[in-house]
């Protein structure tokens, strides 16, 4: 039987604050928080599996509330979300099976190394690509203009395979299911590997399918809801969900997710790309810092205990920094956007 940690005032305050910031980022870019919450709960003393299970249990209701809010703003393409979620579910299963195989073959350190390398590779490549695009949009002075569909997405949309074509009205795209299926599957595999499928899902919907970034980040919440719901039930069958932890994170995160969703209505589309990229790249640094620790555990080279402790601490600081940076950019952009909106209303009144 699993033992669950005792909660004191410090633990509760930590869960509330991280929950709020995670929710804020999630409401804005479609995913976030999970990569800090799971290690955060583990640092409080929860076992890895309980941390993952409880995280999922707060994630699906949070995603539901976020999706509902952004649906009111007309950002959610429900059909695209459900289609992606349908192929993401087998992706989660495959990702979990792969994770299990790595763990059985290379042990705990091997599994940690695999997860960290997946973080570093995916986040650096995708985050770098998204950042380049966001900066290009900003520099070109077209930041306020309507987003343009990229070259890859135009090619994808031009391919017509009879019998597989699907029209997604809110996203304003018509693409073959032959593209949504592997994309959804990859989102699921990543979700099972690093707990944040959105790092593939959101950029994938933007750059491969050609969905606007506002629609992609909102639709990701639908995918997160479906994956989180099934994931929670799967872990509950093993008795791993700590409902107290899950509901405490939810307490803070629902304040955050509503604020983040409102924030998207005040900013220019490139801001969503910028925040996504900045968070992804800082998290990549955080995971890269612990790679030597796992290599040392696997006996590749020796590392003194103080170096291990320092690298682990630095890694955690970077993860918290990723969320805080995201939160500061979002709140700052909201305040600027709000001031501009007020000025525009006053101008019209005059």
């Amino acid at each position: 039987m699993e033992t669950f940690l005792a909660l004191d005032a410090t633990n509760v305050a930590f869960l509330l604050i991280v929950g709020f910031i995670g929710g804020l980022v999630s409401g804005f870019i479609g995913s976030g928080g999970a990569f800090v919450l799971t290690p955060g709960m583990m640092s409080l003393g929860a076992s890895g599996i309980v941390a993952v299970a409880s995280n999922l249990c707060h994630k699906f209701p949070k995603a539901l509330v976020g999706a509902y809010k952004r649906h009111q703003f007309g950002h959610v393409d429900v059909k695209l979300g459900l289609v992606m979620a349908a192929s993401a579910s087998p992706g989660v299963w495959a990702g979990a099976a792969l994770q299990d195989w790595v763990r059985r073959s290379f042990g705990e350190a091997g599994s940690n190394l695999y997860v960290s390398l997946a973080f570093v590779v995916v986040l650096t490549v995708v985050g770098g690509f998204v950042l380049r695009d966001a900066l290009r949009l900003h520099r070109s002075g077209r930041a306020a203009a309507k987003e343009q569909t990229g070259k890859l997405a135009r090619w994808v949309q031009a391919i017509h395979v009879p019998g597989t074509m699907m029209h997604f009205r809110t996203a304003g795209i018509r693409v073959s299911a032959l593209f949504t299926i592997p994309l959804g599957f990859a989102t699921g595999v990543l979700a099972a590997t690093i707990a944040v499928g959105g790092f593939i899902g959101v950029p994938g919907m933007i750059y491969v399918l050609g969905a606007p970034s506002l629609v992609a980040s909102a639709t990701e919440l639908v995918i997160a809801f479906v994956m989180g719901l099934f994931g929670t039930f799967k872990y509950a069958l093993g008795g791993y969900v700590d409902i107290r932890l899950a509901m405490l994170i939810l307490l803070g995160s629902l304040f955050g997710v509503q604020l983040g969703a409102i924030g998207t209505t005040y900013v220019k589309p490139y801001m969503i790309k910028l925040v996504t990229a900045v968070i992804m790249l800082i998290v990549a640094v955080s995971r890269a810092l612990v790679v030597p620790v796992y290599l040392a555990q696997l006996g590749v080279f020796a590392l003194p205990g103080t170096a291990v402790a320092a690298l682990k601490a630095a890694s955690f600081v970077f993860m918290v920094a990723a969320l805080l940076t995201g939160a500061v950019i979002i709140v700052g952009a909201m305040i600027r956007g709000h001031a501009e909106a007020v000025a525009a209303v006053e101008e019209v009144a005059e």
Binding site: K62, L64, A236, I243
Partner: protein, 76 residues
């Protein structure tokens, strides 16, 4: 009832329901944890159903909370 009074009524009601949910969870912490981690019968559904219930009440409360503070979506 005026619009702002209606909002305050909704805010207080959803807040009270949320508070009652959280109070129940932590006042009966030991019993809740014992039954929510059972793996037989319909017990695994308990965390899922609870998460839905909490999110409806608390999601409504947080929505009204930001609205009462004047933090609302930009109308285009």
């Amino acid at each position: 009832m005026s619009r702002s009074r209606k909002l305050w009524f909704k805010l207080v009601t959803s807040g009270a329901v949320t508070a009652a949910f959280y109070w129940t969870l932590f006042a009966h912490e030991a019993e809740v944890m014992a039954s929510f981690t059972r793996t037989d019968g319909f017990y695994p559904l308990l965390p899922v159903v609870t998460a839905f219930a909490f999110s409806f009440a608390h999601g409504a409360f947080t929505g009204y909370f930001w609205e009462a503070l004047g933090v609302q979506a930009r109308k285009r």
